[in-house]
């Protein structure tokens, strides 16, 4: 699993490539921590090449929810394949995290008045 970063305008995109499990989730956590430490406030997560996610990966996203809510950091996931999306849905995490279909929707939500 690899995580790539790209900076565009006022948001940063993290692109996850591969399988996110109890071994590789440490790398995702480190990437998110890094962009937070750089004071990024708009984080888009491209899941197009995320082929698999276990609870360890879900837990990484979940663990930032409170901090991001308090600090007005917006994290939006997009391009999830149906099976990965179903894993979020089974636990109800699709209601807690911001998940949209496309990057355009993610950018719009990142800049929306209401989040």
């Amino acid at each position: 699993m690899e995580v790539y970063q790209s900076k565009e305008e006022d948001y940063i995109t993290l692109t996850i490539d591969g399988e996110l499990d109890a071994s590789s989730c440490i790398d995702l956590d480190a990437s998110i921590q890094q962009v937070v430490s750089e004071n990024e406030k708009r984080i888009l997560v491209d899941c197009k090449h995320l082929s698999y996610i276990s609870s360890a990966g879900l837990g990484v996203f979940m663990s930032y929810l409170q901090e991001f809510g308090q600090n007005d950091v917006r994290m939006i996931l997009f391009n999830l394949n149906p099976q990965v999306k179903e894993v979020f849905r089974i636990l109800g995490l699709d209601n807690l995290l911001k998940i949209v279909a496309t990057k355009e929707e993610a950018k719009a939500l990142a800049n929306a008045v209401a989040f």
């Binding site: 399988e19 499990d21 109890a22 071994s23 989730c25 956590d29 698999y52 276990s54 609870s55 360890a56 879900l58 837990g59 990484v60 979940m62 663990s63 930032y64 929810l65 409170q66 901090e67 099976q83 179903e86 894993v87 089974i90 636990l91 109800g92 995490l93 807690l96």
Partner: protein
């Protein structure tokens, strides 16, 4: 048909567990989404055993047995690590986990929602999880 796989308690081995399962399920006609979700459930149990029951001790082993019945897949996962009090285990609410910034605690919740039957027993130091999935 009964298939067997042995792995050791290092989380880097989770990929080989998934590879074995995907091939075994495919070879025996189990299709997505049943296959995808079964792989996930076994991954969750194995990662819990590696990290929590065996403290990532690479010398400790985990054994998987897959039994393909006519309309059910039965997977037995055994180890000799620290036993788990399954009967007294209660899932936390998602909100509690969010409030405490917890990263863990979702795995067994997922397993119970994915599989049709989940059981656990420990006897003479040997711990056994049995996961069943009804296959259409």
């Amino acid at each position: 048909m009964l298939l067997h796989f042995k792995t050791y308690c290092d989380t880097v081995n989770l990929q080989s567990v998934r590879d074995f399962l995907r091939k075994s399920l495919s070879d025996n006609g189990v299709k997505d989404p049943d296959a995808y979700m079964t792989v996930l459930a076994v991954d969750e149990i194995c990662s819990n055993l590696m990290i929590h029951a065996n403290a990532c001790n690479e010398e400790m082993e985990i054994n998987l047995d897959l039994l393909f019945l006519s309309n059910q897949l039965r997977i037995t996962i055994t180890d000799f690590g620290i036993s788990f009090n399954y009967d007294n285990h209660m899932d936390n609410s998602l909100q509690t986990m969010v409030d405490h910034k917890r990263k863990g605690g979702l795995g067994l919740m997922l397993v119970k929602r994915i599989m049709d039957e989940v059981s656990y027993q420990t006897e003479s130091g040997k711990n056994s999880w049995v996961l069943c999935k009804n296959i259409a």
